[in-house]
Symmetry: C2
Subunit: 159 residues, 2 copies
DNA sequence: AGTATTAAAGACTCTTTTATCCTAAATTAA
DNA sequence: TTAATTTAGGATAAAAGAGTCTTTAATACT
């Protein structure tokens, strides 16, 4: 199990890429998909969710694409996670018990609920812009790697 | 996305139940499944993984069942997670990038790798016995709830 | 020896996630 | 107005996860 679904990871990567490109004009999803080495159709579906949540604005036709509805600086990672995976991760019990109540807490309750909060803060704190800066500084590596890429990487041990 | 797969959660619940029952004799999987309100066949599959990892001993035939290969006191939660879900959660990047290297870290690297460690320590620290005690003190609630149970719960708002 | 009990193993089904493909609707530009 | 471009949306397919069912093998008890 990964922490986030693949869709969510792709969504985050796309958002970081968009933040890097700035938010001046609409960016075509096809271009983003090409940069990330993803299927454009698939990415379209994912970004649709962000559009429906009001995080992105979209525009059809030539010169169309998507852009953030507000400054990337103000958009936190958790907003993207919430739109795609939901907030379950930060709100549910690690043991998956329903009918939670602090009156009769299940095992792990204390430690996990404390931890959930820390995790949540992490995603609430990180803004897209900060991540974008970080990517640029360190040398971008957002691209989904194909099998060939991985072979290449293993040969070169740097990418 | 949940933190742990359902199989893993079931495995942990079963293990806690077993720890509560003590480790004197083999416990029948059918009985555990009944207590947890799970399919016995399904639980068998899950516990098989723990047996194959050497965490449990199994024995067929009448009076057969499973028991821990060592004291529940010594068994940490992470061992069960490792056997069922693997350690990916504690070892992989939150953004799912391959070819990780601290030389050219991807965004989130610092925060997430720090956090991964905390999460790992949490699972490394909690022993089955401690959880079992906790369950008993607070009033056991390991049972998987059926839809009927949930209705019932919502009526009573306590379980 | 024979029967009942129990885990192991594998075939199979159902659901969810991931991914692809095709068509429709909106929009721009010529 | 026509053609090209681009997101939206639905149908479908493939893969993984969750769960069921049947058969087999081991074991204990009579
Ligand atoms: S008691 Fe705590 S850990 Fe258990 S379900 Fe409730 S919040 Fe989650
Ligand atoms: S750079 Fe850090 S976060 Fe990125 S893949 Fe490597 S370990 Fe994971």
């Amino acid at each position: 199990m990964a922490l986030l679904s693949k869709s969510c990871v792709y969504g985050i990567r796309a958002a970081i890429l968009m933040a890097i490109k700035g938010n001046e004009e609409f960016i075509s999803i096809k271009d983003i998909a090409k940069d990330l080495n993803l299927s454009a159709h698939f990415l379209t579906k994912i970004l649709q969710q962000l559009t429906q949540e009001g995080l992105l604005l979209s525009h059809r036709g030539p010169k169309g694409g998507v852009k953030f509805s507000r400054e990337p600086k103000l958009i936190k990672l958790i907003e993207i996670v919430a739109a795609i995976d939901g907030l379950e991760l930060f709100e549910e019990c690690a043991l998956g018990l329903h009918g939670c109540g602090t009156a009769t807490p299940c095992p792990l309750h204390e430690k996990w609920s404390e931890h959930k909060l820390v995790l949540r803060r992490l995603f609430e704190t990180e803004s897209l812009e900060k991540l974008a800066d970080n990517v640029q500084e360190a040398g971008l590596r957002l691209r989904t790697l194909s099998q060939l890429d991985i072979l290449e990487f293993n040969k070169n041990k740097r990418l």
